[in-house]
């Protein structure tokens, strides 16, 4: 009995240690369920591919059901043109935004293509660099999907 109570104490000490030493990403791994998070990278200026990606995002959301999923789409390079306010897929992107998808355009690409937010769909967000976003989100444990 005495020994067991000491062990319990050790275990409590160990738990405190784990929480203190492990970074956020590792602590997330130690939770019973992995958080569903997916980053879609889009670099193609191709309505057919965009339609597939927009379908993929709907399928992902429906596929995980009650688990829920956090979805981000980041567009850079030629892919950014599909986020313009006159994009052939603008209605589908508006639907994705309404559905809770975070849609981000790369500001590096915006500058290179001399695009301003006034040229783009009004509800989208911006990241300083699409490629930095892709790396950072993977570091944080997001799944990466290059459609």
């Amino acid at each position: 009995m005495h020994t067991m109570s000491k062990r319990s104490l050790f275990l409590a000490g160990g738990a405190a240690l784990l929480a203190a030493v492990l970074p956020v990403a590792a602590r997330a791994q130690a939770q019973p369920a992995v958080k569903n998070r997916a980053l879609f990278q889009v670099t193609d200026n191709d309505p057919a591919r965009w339609n597939m990606i927009l379908n993929n995002m709907i399928n992902l959301k429906e596929g995980v059901g009650g688990e829920g999923v956090e979805i981000e789409l980041v567009a850079y390079g030629p892919g950014i043109l599909m986020l313009k306010s006159d994009s052939p897929v603008k209605h589908r992107i508006a639907d994705a935004l309404k559905g809770g998808v975070q849609v981000n355009a790369c500001q590096n690409t915006m500058n290179a293509m001399k695009l301003a937010p006034a040229d783009m769909q009004p509800e989208i967000g911006y990241v300083p660099s699409g490629v930095v976003e892709v790396m950072k989100k993977q570091q944080q444990g997001w799944a990466y999907i290059r459609s």
Copy 2:
């Protein structure tokens, strides 16, 4: 001496704790060798690209040698057409299946394209959603290869 024997006990307690708290993926990381697991995503309906992917899978298997590797191919979107029973790469896919590759078609795509298992190569498997499969496998520590 007495103190050291207590420390050994603490260490044993800590090890039990790690096994209890860390999920399967984190425990796998704690083993000396990382398990080789690779998920190939194929969304293109293009025999040349499929031939490259099928070569890649052979190269991956040969490249790891005695370490071994678990390989899964998941096809969705237009890529699924290459898994039909009349596919131009059907013999190579049959070889991959014989070699132990798990080949999965996305049921969402099957439904959207009005395809039934009778239209497909007989030995393949199915997953409810290709994009969910891509996210989940990455969560479980599989490498992701978008060829």
Copy 3:
């Protein structure tokens, strides 16, 4: 007080245990900052795509600023042709090499295409298998970017 000093001892024991049990990759995660490392896979023989990737690598480096980032580009399949000494993007690849990017060609592809190092840009490196490299780097915690 006495109890607290025992707990401190347990914590020290636990820290030693963590260092002993967790592999290199997991210990890296336990450091305050994640190391920025990105592997670019290039399989397309397309100067426009290569120019985008070469821009991406510059944007990545500038985007992380003082954090620094380790960048590797691995080319295999038809993509390897852009690493030949007469490549239309040879000057930009030379610039990337000067900037510290590790550029690797796949020896499996070299053999299949009957290419020798004498045919290639002189400063590049080689890996036995591009696809093995892609898997291994992800296992080691590198972000994967399929441009």
